[in-house]
Amino acid sequence: MIAVELLKLLRRPRTWATILLLDALPTLVAALLAFTDLAPRPGEGPVFLSAVLNNGSLFPLAALAIVLPLFLPIAVAVVAGESIAGEAQAGTLRYLLVRPVGRTTLLVAKLISVIVFVLIAVVVVAATAYVVGVSLFGVGSFEATTVSGTVLTPSQIFGRTLLAIGYVTLSMLGVAAIALFLSTLSDSPLAAALGAMAFLIASSLLLTLDAANVLAPYLPTRYWLSFVDLFRDPIRWRDITRGIGLQAVYVGVFLTAAWANFTSKDITT
């Protein structure tokens, strides 16, 4: 069943269109930077962008920082929101269930296909950004400076970029679980995706509010940009482990809710 879901994901034109769109924004940013040579000053604009002009191999990180706050979560919410509700809307859900595919199996297969989607999206964005970055800005000294001012070797950059890709993927799982849960509630993929997005927008808004400081450590977007800490020397693990823990809690809670709802639900579509 997992293989079937992956096949469905990969054969759907929309999957690739979404990834293409995700790729477009960082590429546009790179092109603009290369032609105008106007990098944001350190500490302003998206992270890593100021360093990119000197070393193109840092551009994958800048690209992740560009898509992470909005583009990537939207794509994840759409794909995860579509998972069950999309089948319900097309009417194929009832045929899958009488095939029979167990409801728990279906839910797990859907979750895995969403995770694979995130991973593909993040890897494609990072890979394209590497090619674009290196060809537009060159790699300079083959060495890069960390946020703390020390120097990283190319292999260190590579390793830490991989870690960052992993962390960004994990960061999206909370959104995925929320959208998947809403997808079992509603028969409309759009409603599920919008619901998950509303949750994220509320979370980002609360983060800017001093009065909401009590809530901050529990908001799903709180630790998203903590992958920057991977580029400090030494790596600051505190926020990263908290971010992973927080995502695990969101995934646990919403997946359980999705499972409880979906396995007891009457399928009337």
Binding site: M1, A3, V4, L7, K8, R11, R12, P13, A90, G91, T92, R94, Y95, L96, L97, V98, R99, P100, V101, G102, S264, D266, I267, T268
Partner: protein, 302 residues
Amino acid sequence: MIVTHALAKRYGQLHAVDGIDLDVREGDIYGFLGANGSGKTTTVRMLLGLVHATSGEIELLGQPMPSSARTVLPQVGALIEGPAAYGHLSGRANLLLFDAAGRGGSRRTRRTRVGDALEQVGLAGVGRRPVRNYSLGMRQRLGLAGALLRAPRLLILDEPTNGLDPQGIHEIRELLQSLHAQGTTVFLSSHLLAEIEQLCTRVGVLDRGRLVLQEQLADLQKPTGRTVVHTPDAEAARVLIGEGLIEVLDDGALVIASGDAPAVNRALVEAGIRVQELAPQRRSLEQVVLEAAGSSGDRSVR
């Protein structure tokens, strides 16, 4: 093949299905009749484990549902409230995915299985065009092919001829009859009386959630003990029969209170009355259903 005991589904105050005892036997073509909104679809969905029953028991192929869904459902083919497929894929690709989704069915024979099913419903030559460009009839055929994939022992079909033209309906009827001849039990839900009358061996009638009738079609349609006579000499016949005459129908035919058609014929002919047509009276399925069930289910009277 299908047995239910006091099967019921309530939505709040509404009794969508109200304690029905279905009994579909091996080798039946069972016609499940009912007006729109009478609970047919809810019943079908409960049989297949899509909707959870409020109370009552279901047995499919001798095993309890939905607890035995994993072993029972692979032997059941279903078409529920119209076909469904992924619009951007071809019919063949849809069936391949559908076949791969469930357990059972070896991977090596998958292509053959899908090819055979498409052949059976007359879609073998449809090629690679996506389902989104299919006509309603082609989608219906694809849905049927999906139901036939695993050569099921039991077919549960909800309105299988929906959207088909007369030739298509005829083809599907012949297909179902040949499957039945090979030993497949068919459970057919429909509101089209003519379809049921031509195809089924047994009927159940659902009216506002209650099973008001369940019998062999032949028993329902057995002679009523009266004879219908068409004759150009109606007046003379009326005088001759006298007491035995029940009524004169609109088209001039006479209904006679005797089931012995040969004797009636002889009496008429010996009296010099010309007989154009003479037959034992049988009730039509429509009459039976209208007598058993009340008004249309989606009619709501204040």
